[in-house]
Amino acid sequence: MTRPSKPADAASSVDENTVDLRALEAAIGRIVDGEPLPGDAAIVVESLASSPEVVEQLEQHLLVDALLRDEVGYDAAAFVDAVRVMIEAENSRPAFVTRVREAIFGKEADFVCPIGPAATTGRRRWAGLSLPITLACTLLVMSLLANGIWNAAAIGEPVMVEVAAVDGTTAFAVGDRLDLRTLVLPDGAVDLTLGSGVRLECQAPLMARFEHPMRLHLSRGRIDIDVGDDGAGFTVVTSAGEVVDLGTRFSVNASPDGEVRVAVFSGQVELRSQQVGAVSLVDGEAVRLTKSQAPRRLQSVEIRSRNPGDRKAVVISEISDNVEVSKLRRFYGLVACGMRDGVRAFRDRREVSWQAEPGDVFPDDLYGADLVQTFQAERFRQDFSLQFGVSQPSRVYVFYDARYSPPDWLARDFVNTGRRIVSTGWSPTPVTRGVQPDVWGTLAIPHDIWCRDLVQPTTVVLGPPVLPERDRNSTSQFESFVPSMYGIAVQPIAPPATNIGFSRPRPSRAKPAPATGAPTKAVPVATRGRRGRP
């Protein structure tokens, strides 16, 4: 690379050039990275004007940056879908009028006169063809008209919606009342309420259109739907089938590759697809299906966090277990940043929630962690294993029934922090046998908080909650029974630094745990809580 020469002695010139070159490259780098410092543009522009090599260097770095963005995980199909919906919306306004006008005035039906020698004899030839041409034009007009009418019907009718909540998008404002036909949400999330009381929680990127107020065609994206008291029968149409509500709260997520994921959070829905006809899904069940495949179990469903200021990215991914039972459709609930006092603990126990121990406060370091809602039904399986991915350095918490000795895998891989939370809200069942109700008659099971630090993204495998046969009858007064299913939460350890030039990682949100190895050693960690029970 050449730069303007400077009138100085040779040694200092070399030094200055080296420094300049470094400064220039750093400035180009930061500009390409999209995080320039205030003086960077001036440095680069000065060199751009004097050196074609710098121009080439900048262009090439921008080119590689663009190619990399394209190559590493870009969702081109979503981009095309977005354009498709935008031009569909563009069309839908004046489509019918335009088509009729074009049909009448023949804009689309122009005959271009022949080029070359044929042009000289064209008029005479056309003269004898007036009748066929008139007929052809009439047919063309009719087909265009029919097309226009069909198209207008396919696009659907506008539906009055009210914007109830907005997060991360400027396209909507709370309180707006809109006539929506096509709904495109490139970023953020928006909650819409229909006249029927149906509430739609839309997450970007999303493309949908209303066919009428009780029927929504979802092309792409996720919508969580709460139909309320008057919205029974609300239908979501997807490429793979229809989801008809039977009085419930459910979620439909259509991906660009044609796969549709349906999860039921409460109540019941009916799934209608060409492959299997009608299938009912109840609370806690989720499936994925395509046009050509029958519904298959969807192992986990992310449940949207509604707390402002929460992390946008979920740390946990790909939750799965080894349970293979035909027609099993249970899903693990992944509540992003959802760990807090009173949150639902298990997918198959609606009333049971995690809470601080009576008289204590909810542990600060657990607050806002990603929570996995597990199943009590799995607590009997001796060969059970559950695995999930963790996408960044994190602390994994397991809440294990404190009435029992820990299974080997837990004692080996995790550290007992010596603190507890409780799962509370139980009705008397075998799992609560021996638990004394409190003064209000509430049954609460104590859970020890175990933790393990992961310094890099990895896959975590957890074993069964049940003790091995050999360890039974030697642990506690409850030995002949099976412990409650454990709970799981994951908290990222190192919150990201945001400013350029930041030299050291910030202190972690979760306090560091001692190295593993002493399985049941208590870890002295402060228990100051954010929200505690009185």
């Binding site: 750093a26 780098g29 990275d33 121009v55 262009e59 990399l68 963005r69 394209d70 022949p114 350029i500």
Partner: protein, 215 residues
């Protein structure tokens, strides 16, 4: 749309058209309309051109996070003005003209939201205008883009593990320099320099491969 061509003209096969012999002395040629109820022709163009167009917009100094917005705006404007596009000419070049005008407007508005640095973007825009005046380079762009993508894929596989991890963090997970610095136990300046060297290495490798391919 129906277009009549003379018998003397050799009928060129259109990708979505067919020919039929009618009327003495000429062929009736059915050409896929640019605007049809399903917009198939246009959507195909979007599919074919979107990657190169986004690259082009990025190279005009637009912030990465705004590239998609501007590319989509470009397509929507192109769709609205489709009647002005002469079928058979270079659609990609036409899109780039629209994109250049959009970027020019952004610079005029002093929009720091979308443009990285106005002075740099202005310079790059002038360069793009200059290049656009050479039609030959326009025609070659699509093919060139395909070759570059193929070369980049091959070169990415050769990166050492740490570089691949940083590429993954930066481009796949879309993490900021500061966040990556946190993971790599260094500072954001260092990560920017690593990315600079990494892109330089990829460029060198790509040039080598493209040179081999053309040689």
């Amino acid at each position: 749309m129906v277009r009549r061509v003379s018998r003397e003209q050799s009928p060129k096969p259109f990708p979505h058209g067919f020919f039929c012999k009618a009327f003495s002395g000429c062929y009736i040629e059915y050409v896929m309309p640019k605007k049809s109820p399903d917009n198939r022709w246009f959507i195909e163009q979007v599919e074919q051109q979107q990657s190169a167009l986004r690259g082009f917009i990025r190279m005009l100094g637009i912030r990465p996070e705004s590239v998609d917005d501007l590319a989509q705006e470009t397509f929507v404007i192109a769709y609205k003005k489709l009647d002005m596009f002469e079928q058979g000419t270079n659609f990609g070049a036409w899109l780039r003209t629209i994109a250049r005008n959009l970027v020019r407007n952004e610079i005029r508005r002093q929009s720091r939201r979308r443009v990285l640095a106005n002075e740099v973007a202005e310079f790059l825009l002038d360069r793009a205008d200059e290049k656009a005046s050479h039609p030959a380079s326009e025609v070659e762009q699509a093919e060139q883009h395909r070759q570059q993508v193929a070369a980049l894929r091959a070169c990415l596989r050769k990166l050492p593990e740490r570089s691949r991890r940083i590429v993954q963090q930066r481009y796949f997970e879309d993490l900021s320099l500061g966040v990556i610095a946190g993971y790599e136990n260094t500072n954001a300046n260092n990560i920017s320099q690593i990315l600079f060297r990494l892109r330089s290495a990829l460029l060198g490798c790509m040039k080598e491969r493209l040179g081999e391919a053309s040689g």
